[in-house]
Amino acid sequence: MAGPELLLDSSIRLWVVLPIVFITFIVGVLRHYVTQLLHNEKKVDLQQVSDSQVLLRSRILRENGKYLPKQSFAMRKHYFNNPETGFFKKVKRKVIPKNPMTDTSMLTDMMKGNLTNVLPMILIGGWINWAFSGFVTTKVPFPLTLRFKPMLQRGIELLSLDASWVSSASWYFLNVFGLRSMYTLILGQDNAADQSRIMQDQMTGAAMAMPPDPNKAFKSEWEALEIVEHRWALENVEEELMCQDLNFRGLFS
């Protein structure tokens, strides 16, 4: 339903649109620094480091094993995959599933995360909703269906209004996600103001140094290593070398 083109008061632009951008940005930067202050060193477990390196070695063996002589490759594969004494078969790490409710360190981390990210968002979102309500702030450049109306047009009870016209609360949320690249520019990569990344982390589950189940990782490595076969890359290297010109001309003058 295409409504007539609305002409908005230009003071909306001056006093609503720009302040919201400004506020979002400043709050984001503040969040970054507060997170840095509250951040505590992650204790690295020796076992985890060791395991991750072993997995790396096994992966490299699969990829670059063809540069080793056949026997060396077989020796290493045997070390990893032997049914009785192989590393991946024999070593079973005791995995204590970390219950987020009872594990104290994870609990404090979660609390801190919530405090620095969710709380400001709720507070400021609510304040903006209260302070800047009752009028249309901006128009999104693409047409939207009617189902978006109650979501994006809080506080504006007009049935005939185009769904593309949105309120200030939705402009705030647009900013929260849109300013992500600005944060990267100013604060450098991997900054704590990047909320969408944090939300992604929360969705994919725990993200500590190693996948919390090394046994699974070992199993998948074992399977991958089983099927790899050794094709020696150096089979014909001498013939190839003899065929090509070694370009010694001009090397020693």
């Binding site: 020796l46 490299i60 150096l234 290297v237 003899m242």
Partner: protein, 279 residues
């Protein structure tokens, strides 16, 4: 003695950039580092800003190499003042004790670091180098093996272990270590060439064949590697003179082919040296 900036007509920024280049590319030209670094620290400390700490570290290690204990001590003091609880600074203090041959004290210091942080690889490696400095190579080998069991990915350590084994004439184990290095860096011609040399030293037809192949690979990766070329030549020469045995009927075919290859390589040598090599 006039300062570096006068001698070479360089500004302090260029000196700082030179130091950074040496640091990143792991150069060990300690005397130069001490000269340039000392001047930077004494004259231009305020202009360097936060870079100065890493320059202190770099200059301190170079000063230990040149046995300039005064300079090393002053650098260490500055770093201790700025980073009082840092393990990295403690390790530098340990290195200074090692340079003064106070190995017991250095060991105690490293043990305290490891108690605090069991995953600190730098402290462990310093302990192993203390053993090596004291000449206890079998213990050093044992400790290094234990270290590598936990940190399999440490290439520096594998290389060190291969050197230790070569000194003990245990070529099979040295070859194993070099294989690890070749696996992780397949395009590095130096590892190929070292491996080939170890195989050549081990001797025996199989090892000589392997050596030849790896020398050839090293040449393929970098055709300016003269050691590899020479190694290839020696390998071909050696294998072409292996006696024909009933167990190895292909040896004769090999020998004939090898003689061709020997001639090929010899021609290439002649190209370089302008005169024939007599066999």
């Amino acid at each position: 003695m006039s300062s570096i900036s006068e001698l070479y007509d360089v500004s302090w920024e260029e000196m700082r950039d030179k130091l950074r280049k040496w640091r990143e590319e792991n150069y060990r030209n300690s005397e130069q580092i001490v000269d340039v670094g000392e001047e930077l620290i004494n004259e231009h400390a305020s202009k360097l800003g936060d870079d100065i700490w890493i320059i202190y570290e770099q200059v301190m290690i170079a000063a230990l190499d040149c046995s300039r204990d005064d300079l090393a001590w002053s650098c260490l003091q500055e770093l201790k003042r700025q980073f009082p609880d840092s393990h990295r600074v403690k390790r530098l203090a340990g290195m200074r004790l090692e340079a003064l041959e106070r190995y017991e004290d250095a060991n105690k210091l490293y043990d305290s670091i490891l108690q605090d942080d069991p995953t600190n690889t730098a402290a462990r490696k310093r302990k192993i180098s203390i053993l090596r400095a004291q000449g206890k190579s079998s213990e050093a080998i044992r400790e290094l093996n234990e270290y590598l069991e936990q940190f399999v990915g440490d290439q520096e350590a594998w290389h060190e272990l291969s050197e230790l084994y070569i000194n003990e004439h245990d070529y099979a184990k040295a070859a194993f270590c070099l294989e690890e290095l070749m696996m992780t860096n397949p395009h590095n011609h130096l590892y190929c060439e070292q491996y080939a040399e170890v195989k050549y030293t081990q001797g025996g037809l199989e090892n000589l064949e392997l050596a030849r192949k790896y020398f050839a690979q090293a040449l393929k990766l970098n055709n300016r590697n003269m050691r590899a070329l020479f190694g290839l030549y020696m390998g071909l020469f050696a294998t072409s003179h292996q006696p024909y045995t009933p167990q190895n009927p292909e040896a004769q075919g090999f020998a004939a082919r090898n003689r061709d290859e020997v001639d090929c390589v010899q021609l290439k040598f002649q190209h370089i040296h302008g005169e024939g090599l007599s066999c």
